[in-house]
């Protein structure tokens, strides 16, 4: 580690290993998520990069089992009830105050992704499981959660302790990762990197 790495308390290879070992967890047991862990996850979201530092999103934490059930009913993409849902909402009043046009400004959606990714990485670092969900009825979820008109639910992060739910969904072989070579374009679109990409670290 370099001095800068030490200052940040981060081992770069360790961070890459963390990111590459993360998997979506779709089945959870009933064990609750501790308050300090939940706040750490939310704090990770707070530090997500955000266009112009506009902060037009809000994180609605849902832990009440009955409310979680109702959201799940309106969410065909959610297969198991987690201990916690973090509903990422776009606050349209904040959007208006920032002078954004939510229907055409890509940063509104990109920032949902950065929030989600920061929180999922933190969930994984804590040894918990997470699943991002977008397959839900925005109108239906708005009703069951009693959201105000200006709060638009964009995505839901499911957090909980993974259940033993059998073998994971098979993934394509990824070591060394041919996907990386396909993803990376070099200098010009369609041009492959001049050298083979470094193999991904072993995945958990």
């Amino acid at each position: 580690m370099t001095a800068a790495d030490t200052r940040r308390g981060v081992d770069p290879a360790g961070l890459l290993a963390l990111l590459s070992s993360r998997r979506v967890v779709r089945n959870f047991n009933s064990e609750p998520v501790a308050d300090d862990q939940l706040w750490m996850i939310l704090e990770a979201g707070r530090w997500a990069t955000c266009a112009s530092n506009n902060r037009v999103h809000r994180l609605l934490v849902v832990r009440d089992p009955q409310r979680i059930k109702l959201v799940t009913d309106m969410a065909p993409g959610i297969f198991s009830r987690p201990a916690v849902m973090v509903v990422i909402c776009t606050d349209m009043q904040a959007v208006a105050a920032a002078g954004l046009r939510a229907d055409v400004d890509r940063t509104v959606f990109i920032d949902v992704g950065t929030l989600m990714m920061n929180m999922m990485a933190q969930v994984h670092a804590l040894g918990l499981g997470a699943c991002p969900a977008t397959s839900f009825s925005q109108a239906g979820v708005g009703v069951v959660l009693g959201l105000p008109e200006h709060a638009r639910p964009e995505a839901i992060l499911l957090v909980g302790h993974p259940a033993d739910a059998g073998p994971p969904v098979p993934r394509r072989p990824s070591r060394p990762s041919p996907l990386l070579a396909k993803l990376v374009q070099w200098e010009r679109y369609g041009q492959a990197p001049p050298v083979a990409p470094v193999a991904s670290p072993p995945c958990g």
Binding site: D73, M74, P76, F136, G140
Partner: protein, 122 residues
């Protein structure tokens, strides 16, 4: 909420086992179907098949969970729950499974109707 719909449990008029389904379970399936209809407008087309298979699995789970003794349905439910996930990992296998599931259900319909393939009149 556990208000039953339909007649109380017991054999139906045709002698087949009947099951009483709580209203709440019916509403859960209703919510899934209606929300899926909304999502299918924006999701890739193969998600429609996925949502319907998932709904079929939910329907089977509801019936079995309400006490229906039907080993065939229990087997189909397990298979649906497993095979629907092929959509995310192996799409050609997912597409291959769809007519396979239809055949299984059709054969079961035939047996329930007391007929054999080719003998059902229209």
């Amino acid at each position: 909420m556990s208000n039953p719909i339909g007649p109380p449990g017991g054999p139906a008029a045709d002698g087949e086992p009947a099951v009483t389904v709580p209203r709440e379970r019916v509403y859960e399936l209703l919510a899934h179907l209606v929300a899926s209809a909304e999502l299918c407008v924006v999701e890739p087309d193969y998600y429609g098949s996925f949502r319907l298979l998932d709904a079929a699995a939910k329907l089977a789970a509801i019936m079995l969970g309400c006490g229906l003794d039907d080993p065939w349905l229990a087997g189909l439910h397990a298979e649906l729950d497993r095979s629907k996930l092929l959509m995310m990992s192996d799409r050609p296998a997912f597409y291959s499974y769809l007519p396979q599931a239809s055949r299984q259900v059709a054969e079961r319909l035939l047996r329930t109707a007391g007929g054999r393939a080719g003998e059902v009149t229209r």
